[in-house]
Assembly symmetry: C2
Homo-oligomer: 345 residues x 2
Amino acid sequence: MIASPYLLYLGHSNDEVGIKTSRGLAVFRPDDCVGEFRHDDCGLTLDLPRMGFAEAVAVGARTLVLGIANAGGRMSADLVGDAIAAIEAGLDVASGLHHRLREEPAIVAAAARHGRKLHDVRDPRPGIPVGNGKRRAGKRLLTVGTDCSVGKMYATLCLERGMRARGMAADFRATGQTGILIAGSGVPLDAVIADFISGAIEDISPARTDDGWDLIEGQGSLFHPSFAGVSTGLLHGAQPAALVLCHDPMRAHMRGLPHYPVPGLRETLEANLAVARLTSPEVRAVGVALNTSKLARAEAERLCAETADALGLPCTDPFAMGVDSIIDRIDQCFEASPRVATLSL
Amino acid sequence: MIASPYLLYLGHSNDEVGIKTSRGLAVFRPDDCVGEFRHDDCGLTLDLPRMGFAEAVAVGARTLVLGIANAGGRMSADLVGDAIAAIEAGLDVASGLHHRLREEPAIVAAAARHGRKLHDVRDPRPGIPVGNGKRRAGKRLLTVGTDCSVGKMYATLCLERGMRARGMAADFRATGQTGILIAGSGVPLDAVIADFISGAIEDISPARTDDGWDLIEGQGSLFHPSFAGVSTGLLHGAQPAALVLCHDPMRAHMRGLPHYPVPGLRETLEANLAVARLTSPEVRAVGVALNTSKLARAEAERLCAETADALGLPCTDPFAMGVDSIIDRIDQCFEASPRVATLSL
């Protein structure tokens, strides 16, 4: 367990995509984030108090989260120095980088010297089983996408928040490093050995009998030639009762692959439903989530309405407009979950 | 490079499936296999001369191949002892087990002491790239299956042999431990990190400009809930011009999953073509390979004829009946490859 609250590391970053893990924590776990650490040349902020390591410890911080992605996923000498300084000030360190903290002898030595914990979030737990495809109890919703990085984690977390606001039992199941840091557990699916993709998902979302929902963060896309294997195993392991399709209308081509066009929404939905049916024959689509952060509000609303009409599904920007329409559809499609919070009158 | 010729290990095995790697080598690389090592309680044989380690060295053996699968994939104390005795007699050791030779200190020490090499075939090479899906030159054929272990490796190797017999340039590309030991190279796809499945295949079957064929060994099945992610990434990485569908007509249910029926041949073919089209839009099916080893010959021939009629594709048992009909279809579908061997008259 990673001890909170956190100090979020921005370092020298000037690339918005590079700090998406720190930002994810600031947005979805604001109560666990006491401040941000950045150097003078860092042009970005999470609108948290800027503080040094000793200062953060003084206000209660327990862990420095290296919520950034460097080019190549490696830790620079500079980053290693900051991590050691944080350890010496009394902080644990958590990282989602490919370059593991435990592979950096100076960091390991400093942690040993000061009795601090290191958390490499991208290490899958040992002993993940092979998937068995057995039907298991419980209602699971999986977000799927036309492409990578189209808002699947945001949509899933917004659904968790929205369902809980209605008193429904609902739990986010993380499959990526940012999600794991936000949730405190999960599986870094991109780091699992190929034979265990579906088994890893069966493992983090086991049978559930309280009639609540597991909301599983999607990864990749069936139409992304680099990562469709991950998406396929995730669909099979999830055994979803419900799918939410995520899409970024500003995406010009598949992420990182200018020679591949983004597939159509209907085509994406049909392909995902077909693959999911192998382990979950009754699976159905319950909504579409658009990332409209780069559009004017009126344009975004027009696009959602058009998409909803075209696909016959509720369509929203979960972060900007909420998820009520999708939860309404879930309530229509599935026996309404008992509300876990009751009012005493 | 694993030094040949080989001594094939059977040990105490009495399970035919457990010795499939040793048998694969005996069948497809007979010239590289000088003998078999088995204890008195081993009820199986590859019909090779039985010999001890010193005797094998005396007739020229260079490497002991641990071509067996133990329950749990671990090396027993007994197996470790045999490996050390082989090293002391002057043999290198190669293994495809999950339990690595290099994880067994006594074996590592013995190899160091005697200057012998250890080969863990199930280790992917470091630095496998993420797949990029870029169209690359060359003709590639991939075997796909209704299930795991239905004869994909045998069919692929028989196609290599058959094409070479006609003077075509054709090379087997291995994706499993047995295939890697037979070919001397390849990628153990089941041991690759999930994000790199398609990249691993792009890596072992790069652009080819001699107008010959890469024949890529398939893995798993799109309809196997445990392993369909591997099969999906393999289809995308392979960019196959041609698919051969492999099937075991005696299979009662999906391997290891009694709750999953085996899919139909037509359904399997259509699903594989649809997935393959993402990176290879012109892909086509060129044949069906049935494993009829448990059927009488007349029954096997009847089944092949019926299957060919139903699917409009040549159908054969590659090992028992040859692959001429499939190569004829390939020659009809694709510009005939120039023959690399010419007769001097």
